[in-house]
C-alpha cells in the first residue's frame, strides 16, 4: 500500500512535469512553490538591509531579491505600474500614497522599521552653539544658525531624494503659521530661504555625500541632515574627524517608517510570510543593531534603547497630503530657495561624434535640459530659474564659451530654452579631442566667477566620446591642476563615461576634483544628465 502510494506520487509528479513543460528531473523539486519568491524594488538607502535576503530565505523559504533605485525614479515606476517587481520598499510612501494612482498600485502595506530625519552636527559646533546642553533646539534655531553661516550642512537633494524632500516638508511645517494643513500660502518663505542658506553640498546619494562630508568636515561643512540610522552608523564608522551630535528639533521631525508595499497581488502569501518575519523580534533586533533603525516593536525598542541617543519622545511633524504643495515646495526650492547652479558644460564636438547615434544622443540630452518635463524625476532635471550655464565645445581647439542665464519669468525662461536648443542644433562635429585643455579652462572660468558671485554653486560637466589626442594629456593636466589655487580645486568635475572615452583616466579626473563619474554605456545620455543634475 505504502509503495503504491509512493509510486502514485511519482507518477503524478511525472505527469504534472509533462503538463507544466518546465520542471527539473527530480520530482521532489517540482514541489517548490513558484510563488515563494518576492522581488522587491528598494530605494538605495536600504542597501544596508541586503543581508536580509539570506535571512528571509533561511527562515521563511521565500526567496527575496532586491533591486535598488533612486527614490523619485522608483516612486515614478510604481506610480506608472512599471516597477516590474512584486513589492516595493521605500523609506516612506507618503508621496506615493497621497496619489490615488499610487494607492491603486499598492495592494497591502506594512511598516517595518523607523528612522527619524535629524540634524547631525559636529560635536564642537554643537558645543559652540550651545546645542549639546540646551533642553531644546528648534527648527528656528537651526534656520538662524544656517542664515548666520554657523551651520553649514549637507543633505540629499530635496528635488530628487526622499530624505531631502522629507526635510523640506518638515521644515516648511515647522515654520508654517498654522501647525498643519500646510498650503502654499502658509509656507514661510523667508524662513525656508534662511534654512537653505546653510545648504552647502548637494547630491543624490548618501554614500557620495558621506565621502565628501568626511573630506570637508571642519572646513566648509559641519552638519549632515539625514536619517538617524545613517548618522548613527556614520558615527560608529570611525571615519569622521569628530563625531556628530544628533539634534532632534523640538517642533518635530519627519520619521521614515519604511513600508513594504505589495504590488503583485499574486504574491500575497509570500509577502505575508516575509512581513511576519521582518516584524518578528529576531529581525527587529537585527535591524536595530546592524542598521540603526528603530524597531516598530516597543518591547524590542526598550531592549535596544541604549543604541538611540534621542530616546526621548519624538514629536512627528504633520505631512501635508496636498501634492500641489509638495510639488510647489520642490519647485520653489529649485527656482527660489536653493543656491543657484552655475556650471560649464565641456562638450566634445570632435569628428568621432558623427558616429551613428552620438550627436543625436547629445542633442537629445541638451534639449532635455532646456525642455519642459513635469514628471517627478524630470522637473528638477531641467535648468532652473537663475541658473548660469556656459557651453564650452572643444575639438582641435577649445572654442569660445557661450553663456546663458535662465531668467525667473516664464516667458524669458522659454525664450532662453529655445536659444539653448538652437545652439545645440548648430553644433558641428569635426576634428580632434582636446579634452584636458578645455577642462582646465572650464575650472578656471568657474573659479573666477565664484570670486565674483560666491552665492552660486559651481561645477563642471565633462562629456567626451573618445581618447584625448590634442593638447595636454592627463599627466600634464594633473600637474597643471596641482598648481591651481585652492578655490579652483574646490570646483567638482562631473564626468560622463561614454563610447571610447578613457574610463580609468576619466574616473581619476572625477576623483581628483571630488566630483563623480556617471556611466552612460548602459544608460541614455538623458538619464545620465538627469542624474548629474541632482549633484549640482
Amino acid at each position: 500500500m505504502k509503495r503504491q502510494a509512493m509510486l502514485l506520487k511519482y507518477l503524478v509528479a511525472l505527469a504534472s512535469c509533462a503538463l507544466l513543460l518546465a520542471c527539473s528531473e527530480k520530482p521532489a523539486e517540482t514541489r517548490a512553490d513558484p510563488k515563494s519568491s518576492l522581488s522587491i524594488l528598494a530605494t538605495s538607502d536600504l542597501k544596508d538591509v541586503q543581508a536580509l535576503e539570506k535571512m528571509v530565505q533561511d527562515e521563511t523559504g521565500v526567496a527575496i531579491k532586491f533591486t535598488f533605485g533612486g527614490t523619485m525614479e522608483s516612486t515614478e515606476k510604481v506610480l506608472k505600474g512599471e516597477a516590474n517587481t512584486d513589492a516595493a520598499w521605500f523609506a516612506n510612501a507618503r508621496y506615493l500614497l497621497s496619489d490615488p494612482a499610487g494607492q491603486a498600485r499598492v495592494k497591502l502595506q506594512e511598516k517595518i522599521m523607523l528612522s527619524p530625519l535629524v540634524v547631525g552636527v559636529s560635536t564642537s559646533t554643537a558645543h559652540s552653539l550651545g546645542w549639546d546642553t540646551a533642553p531644546k533646539v528648534t527648527w528656528k534655531d537651526i534656520a538662524d544658525a544656517a542664515k548666520d553661516g554657523k551651520l553649514r550642512y549637507t543633505m540629499s537633494n530635496p528635488a530628487s531624494s526622499n530624505q531631502g524632500f522629507m526635510a523640506v516638508m518638515g521644515v516648511a511645517a515647522a515654520f508654517a503659521n498654522k501647525p498643519e494643513a500646510l498650503t502654499l500660502a502658509d509656507v514661510n518663505k523667508q524662513r525656508l530661504a534662511d534654512f537653505f542658506k546653510g545648504y552647502k553640498l548637494v547630491g543624490d546619494n548618501s554614500t557620495y555625500l558621506t565621502e565628501r562630508f568626511i573630506e570637508r568636515q571642519g572646513t566648509d561643512l559641519n552638519a549632515f541632515i539625514n536619517y538617524e540610522s545613517w548618522l548613527l552608523t556614520l558615527n560608529r564608522s570611525g571615519k569622521l574627524k569628530e563625531p556628530l551630535t544628533l539634534i532632534y528639533p523640538h517642533e518635530g521631525v519627519a520619521t521614515a517608517d519604511y513600508p513594504l508595499l505589495l504590488l503583485n497581488d499574486a504574491k500575497r502569501d509570500a509577502y505575508q510570510k516575509v512581513v511576519a518575519y521582518l516584524k518578528g523580534d529576531k529581525a527587529q533586533h537585527w535591524l536595530a543593531q546592524n542598521t540603526g533603525r528603530r524597531s516598530i516593536s516597543p518591547e524590542v525598542m526598550k531592549q535596544e534603547a541604549r543604541l538611540f541617543p534621542g530616546s526621548k519622545v519624538l514629536i512627528e511633524l504633520p505631512f501635508t497630503t496636498d501634492r500641489a504643495v509638495a510639488d510647489a515646495l520642490v519647485d520653489a526650492y529649485l527656482n527660489e530657495f536653493r543656491a543657484p547652479i552655475a556650471s560649464t558644460f565641456v562638450i566634445d564636438v570632435s569628428g568621432s561624434m558623427n558616429e551613428p547615434g552620438r550627436r543625436e544622443g547629445l542633442l537629445e540630452a541638451m534639449h532635455f535640459l532646456s525642455g519642459e518635463d513635469s514628471s517627478l524625476a524630470g522637473r528638477f532635471s531641467r535648468l532652473a530659474s537663475r541658473e548660469r550655464v556656459w557651453m564650452l565645445p572643444f575639438s582641435n581647439e577649445v572654442q569660445e564659451p557661450t553663456y546663458f542665464e535662465v531668467p525667473q519669468d516664464q516667458a524669458g525662461k522659454t525664450a532662453t530654452f529655445q536659444r539653448i536648443g538652437a545652439y545645440a542644433d548648430n553644433l558641428k562635429m569635426r576634428g580632434n579631442t582636446r579634452l584636458y585643455d578645455a577642462v582646465l579652462q572650464a575650472i578656471n572660468m568657474m573659479a573666477e566667477n565664484k570670486r565674483k558671485t560666491p552665492s552660486y554653486l559651481y561645477s563642471v560637466v565633462v562629456f567626451t566620446d573618445g581618447a584625448v589626442n590634442a593638447g595636454a594629456n592627463f599627466a600634464a593636466f594633473k600637474s597643471a591642476y596641482a598648481n591651481l589655487p585652492a578655490e579652483a580645486r574646490a570646483i567638482p568635475v562631473f564626468v560622463v563615461l561614454y563610447a571610447e572615452g578613457n574610463e580609468a583616466e576619466l574616473r581619476a579626473l572625477a576623483d581628483l576634483t571630488h566630483g563623480r563619474a556617471f556611466d552612460a554605456h548602459s544608460m541614455s545620455l538623458v538619464s545620465v544628465f538627469k542624474e548629474i543634475r541632482s549633484y549640482q
Binding site: L19, K111, E180, T255, P298, E299, P318
Partner: protein
C-alpha cells in the same frame, strides 16, 4: 489499491491538473476511501473579509472548529468599503462577505439585493470605538474639562467639547495646566483615511453627532453642511494612513509624539494586550461619550454561508477565541476577566452608545469630505 484503481486515479488527477486545480496536498490526506465522501459533505465557502476578522478566521483553532463542522473557508481580505463593489451573483460571486461595521454590511446587502441575491446578516461579536491615548494626555484633558476619569487609566471623553475645541484650532501647548506635553501641533484625534476605512467613518459619525447637538443625523442636507465642518478634522491631520492598522501601528510604534489620541477599535488594543500579555504602563483608553459599537457583520449570500453564521454566533469555543482577539461577545464577564490580566484597563460595560447614521447619509458625508480634501 489495484492497478485499475490506480490508473483511474491517475486519469482523474490529470483531469484535475488540466483544469488547473491540482495540488499535492490532495495526496497527503491519504484518504483514498473517504475522500470523495467527505468532499460532498464539507462546505467550501469563498468569502471576502475585512482585516479586522482575518487573524481570527485564520486562527488554527477557529479553522479546526469550523473543520469539525464541515466548513472550509477560502478568504480574501479587502477594504470594507470596497466589498460592495465586488458583490456579484453566480460564479463570480462569493458565499459570504465579512465587512467591518454595519454601514459597510448594509452596502453589501444592498448590492446583493441589486444582484438578485437574498442575504442574511449576523453580528457574532462587536467592539466599541475608542480613543487610545496616554496617561499624561488623560490628565491634561481632565484638567481642561474635556474628559472625566472613569476608573484607573480609563477615561470618558466629552465628544461635544473636544470636537468644538478641535474645530477652534487649539494647539496642545495652549491648554491650561500643561507641563507634560509642550507640543505646538493642533489638538486632533488621528484616524485612518475616511475615504478608505470604516474606523474613520465611525469617527465621522461621532463628531457629526456632536455637531448636530447630540442627535444622529437623519437629514441629508444638514448632514452635508456638518460634513463640511468635520472635513477639517480629517484634512488638518495631514497624511493619514490608508490601511486599517496604520493608525494603530503608529500609536504602538511611534507613540505619544505622533498619536497622542488615536481613534481605533477597542479590540485592536485589547488583542494586542492579550497577545503581548501586557501594554506599556502609560497606555490608557478613552471612551467617547457617546460612542458607537462596531459590529463585525457576516453577510451570508446563500444557505451554505448561513451555516457559518449560525456556528459563529452559537459555538462556545469560538466565542472564547473571539475574546482573545479583543472582541466583546454576549459574555461580558469573560471579556473583562481576560483583559484585566494584561494590565490594560477597560470599561466593563459601555452603555452610552449611538447608532451611526444610515449609509446613504454616511456616503453623502464621505463624498463631501472627499471633495473638501482635494482642495
Amino acid at each position: 489499491m489495484n492497478k485499475t484503481a490506480l490508473r483511474l486515479v491517475v486519469t482523474a488527477v490529470l483531469g484535475v491538473a488540466l483544469a488547473g486545480a491540482f495540488t499535492y496536498s490532495f495526496f497527503d490526506k491519504k484518504a483514498s476511501t473517504s475522500l470523495l465522501h467527505k468532499q460532498e459533505q464539507t462546505l467550501n465557502l469563498r468569502g471576502l473579509i475585512a482585516l479586522d476578522v482575518e487573524a481570527y478566521l485564520k486562527d488554527p483553532r477557529v479553522v479546526k472548529v469550523l473543520d469539525e463542522n464541515q466548513i472550509k473557508l477560502d478568504i480574501t481580505r479587502v477594504g470594507s468599503r470596497e466589498m460592495a463593489g465586488k458583490v456579484a451573483g453566480g460564479q463570480g460571486g462569493y458565499d459570504f462577505y465579512f465587512p467591518s461595521g454595519v454601514v459597510a454590511a448594509n452596502q453589501v446587502a444592498d448590492a446583493a439585493k441589486k444582484a438578485g441575491l437574498t442575504t442574511t446578516s449576523y453580528s457574532p461579536f462587536y467592539t466599541p470605538m475608542i480613543v487610545a491615548s496616554w496617561l499624561p494626555i488623560g490628565k491634561l484633558l481632565v484638567a481642561n474639562g474635556l474628559a472625566k476619569a472613569a476608573g484607573d487609566k480609563v477615561y470618558e471623553l466629552d465628544m461635544s467639547r473636544l470636537t468644538e475645541l478641535m474645530l477652534s484650532k487649539k494647539r496642545w501647548n495652549e491648554l491650561a495646566h500643561n507641563s507634560d506635553y509642550d507640543v505646538s501641533r493642533s489638538i486632533l484625534v488621528s484616524t485612518t483615511d475616511v475615504r478608505k476605512s470604516n474606523s474613520a467613518a465611525m469617527y465621522l459619525a461621532l463628531t457629526s453627532y456632536a455637531l448636530n447637538h447630540n442627535e444622529t443625523l437623519s437629514e441629508r442636507e444638514a448632514a452635508k453642511t456638518i460634513a463640511k465642518q468635520v472635513a477639517e478634522l480629517f484634512k488638518r491631520q495631514g497624511y493619514q494612513e490608508n490601511y486599517v492598522n496604520g493608525n494603530f501601528d503608529d500609536y504602538i510604534s511611534i507613540g505619544i509624539g505622533k498619536t497622542p489620541l488615536a481613534f481605533i477599535y477597542e479590540n485592536q488594543l485589547v488583542a494586542y494586550a492579550i497577545n503581548k500579555r501586557g501594554v506599556a504602563a502609560d497606555m490608557v483608553l478613552m471612551y467617547p461619550k457617546p460612542t458607537i459599537f462596531n459590529k463585525v457583520m457576516l453577510v451570508a449570500a446563500n444557505d451554505n454561508a448561513k451555516r457559518l453564521g449560525d456556528i459563529l454566533a452559537s459555538n462556545a469555543e469560538l466565542d472564547k477565541i473571539a475574546i482573545e482577539y479583543g472582541f466583546r461577545t454576549a459574555n461580558a464577564d469573560a471579556f473583562t476577566a481576560a483583559v484585566n490580566k494584561t494590565g490594560l484597563a477597560v470599561k466593563a460595560r459601555v452603555t452610552d452608545v449611538v447608532d451611526p447614521p444610515s449609509y446613504e447619509i454616511m456616503a453623502d458625508m464621505i463624498e463631501v469630505i472627499t471633495a473638501e480634501m482635494k482642495q
